[in-house]
Amino acid sequence: MESLGVLLTFPMNPYLEEELSRRCKVFRLWQSPPERRQEFIRSNAPAIRAIVGNAYVGADAATIDALPNLEIVASFSVGLDKVDLHKCRERGIRVTNTPDVLTEDVADLAIGLAIALLRRICQADRYVRSGEWDKKGDYRLTTRFSGKTIGIIGLGRIGMAVAKRAEGFGCPISYYSRSEKPNTNYKYYSNLIDLAANCNVLIVACPLTEETRHIVNREVLDALGSKGVLVNIGRGPHVDEPELVAALREGRLGGAALDVYENEPHVPEELFGMDNVVLVPHVGSGTNETRKEMADLVLGNLEAHVMNKPLLTPVV
């Protein structure tokens, strides 16, 4: 793969970066300051045949247009909302992602976030660390997780894995999807407002597309209501973030646990002071084991491409 010039968009994984450096010629996009990036891309364009991007920095239309020799975009993510798929199809550029290997980590986190939120684990930890416990006891009652109705937006791989875990807690499962899935016992809603109105914990697990942008809007949040909570393990833009902050501020929504935000790494600071909110920094696939598997998938796809073999996880 030594002749493969790879534009690496972000320092996403030390092992991946090391392997790419060993085996290919790597151009590190983040090492040039933002105002010089166009220039950096233009001057290295002839050599660049591949892009490795992630959930933060992908391959948008402008970047693709600037790279006439681009053959493949291998994303270090399962979500492809940061890759201009239309343009890739037009130009015959291959696109791969990292499905399956991160499914369980994301589903594990969804349940962990839901429990942490309902049971106020983060707030309890803060309370103990404040040293206040031996001065006064604060024994507020929280909300049980087991048995709560879980509403899943998108019953794909991640949605199914979330459902399987929630079933272990005796949670009834309902879902909203473009179409009903055969062979599940889960309750299907063809309308997201109805799903939100009839569940306690609404979990976002669908891909981000033009149709699903802001799918969780003010109406959905109001339907979920002051006794309902939102868990977002999808993409920030799935949720109308200012509406979410307003709903929380005004008590129209019971709580939210978020792994993703509209403008990462920036998180609305108003949320920092709220006890009914859990905020984690896009850690859905953030385990040592999974990131290595994701990296191996990226490397495997690039290698297959270079050797003219079938790609491992092609999307385009």
Binding site: E104, I111, I115, C122, R126, R129, L279, V280
Partner: protein
């Protein structure tokens, strides 16, 4: 037209002698006290200027039932001060604060909270485990300190699939924890006083053996003389390695806390999720400097749902006692 009588009116009309007396040692939640005060004449020593024993002599000489909350001690001196007492009900599952032998000697029946807390404690144990492995609380703190934009992504956590989880005490809580973790593709083993033939999990006859074969220990057993410091230095060495995690939702004294602090400080244990502490509410300050521990103030049982279930169970046990029917959640020395 006759006036409508509400239960409030009935309570006012019922003289104290119609309502059985129920002693409380400490105030407890309104959600518990309110229904009890509707049905029983509550004796509240803390509201009296008299010292407790004088209060009992003056007001509780014929009181037959006692509700213990907050793990207040029920010992021989207390029992001496309540000669008519024949029933003690505690709002906890653990009864290490009750001298069962003394109660048995005096013909005092004891009931506990049965299984009202099982679900919530199991949920909490799983929540702590995911939190420790995936840094939920620590990275939430990181975000709220505004560090994500400046310091970048949070360090990676650890996958749950394939983790070998050792349950210390496979009682009702331990079993519910195991059932939940199976859906996360964890491998479950356990230590218990006796092997459970109906269970498919791998049994280990000692906690050390369990620890050697585990990545995570979840402590869910009762505190007794035998289980004091059941998680000791040897067990921690056996668990050891760099990714050993301990979750405790049982009682603080189940773990040698001084030893645990030391092991965490020197990186010999990878992390811990602790809802209970040896000398709570005193918590070793060393924990406050650790990002790989999650701490809570003995809250695993505290949900609205459990409180409601508890009230129902307390009422049902008291009704049973006062009508000479079998208790719903009796405890005896033999059942430990």
């Amino acid at each position: 037209m006759l006036p409508v009588l509400t239960s409030h009116h009935l309570n006012l009309m019922m003289s104290d002698s119609d309502r059985p007396q129920l002693i409380l040692l400490r105030p407890t939640r309104e959600v518990v006290m309110e229904p009890l005060s509707a049905r029983f004449q509550l004796l509240k020593p803390w509201e009296s200027p008299l010292p407790r024993d004088r209060f009992f002599a003056a007001h509780a000489a014929r009181a037959r039932a006692l509700l213990v909350t907050g793990l207040a001690r029920v010992d021989a001196p207390l029992l001496d001060a309540l000669p008519a007492l024949r029933f003690v009900i505690t709002n906890s599952v653990g009864v290490d604060h009750i001298d069962l032998a003394e109660c048995a000697r005096r013909g005092v029946a004891v009931a506990n909270a049965g299984s009202v807390y099982t679900t919530d404690v199991a949920d909490y144990a799983v929540g702590l485990l995911v939190d420790v492995l995936r840094h939920v609380t620590a990275s939430n703190r990181y975000v709220r300190l505004g560090l994500w934009p400046s310091r970048g992504d949070y360090p990676l956590g650890f996958k749950l699939r394939g983790k070998r989880v050792g349950i210390v005490g496979l009682g009702s809580i331990g079993s519910e924890v195991a059932k939940r973790l199976e859906a996360f593709s964890c491998f479950i083993s356990y230590f218990s006083r006796k092997r459970k033939p109906s269970v498919t999990y791998t049994y280990f006859p000692s906690v050390c053996d369990l620890a050697v074969a585990s990545d995570v220990l979840v402590v869910t057993c009762a505190l007794t003389d035998e289980t004091y410091h059941i998680i000791d230095s040897d067990v921690m060495s056996a668990l050891g390695k760099e990714d050993g995690i301990i979750i405790n939702v049982g009682r603080g004294p189940l773990i040698d806390e001084v030893e645990l602090v030391k092991r965490l400080k020197y990186g010999e244990i990878a992390g811990a999720g602790l809802d209970v502490f040896e000398y709570e509410p005193i918590v070793p300050k060393e924990f406050f400097y650790m990002d790989n521990v999650v701490l809570s103030h003995h809250v695993a049982v505290l949900t609205h749902e459990a409180a409601s279930d508890l009230v129902q169970l307390i009422m049902a046990n008291l009704e049973a006692f006062f009508s000479d029917k079998p208790l719903l959640s009796p405890v005896s020395i033999c059942s430990l």
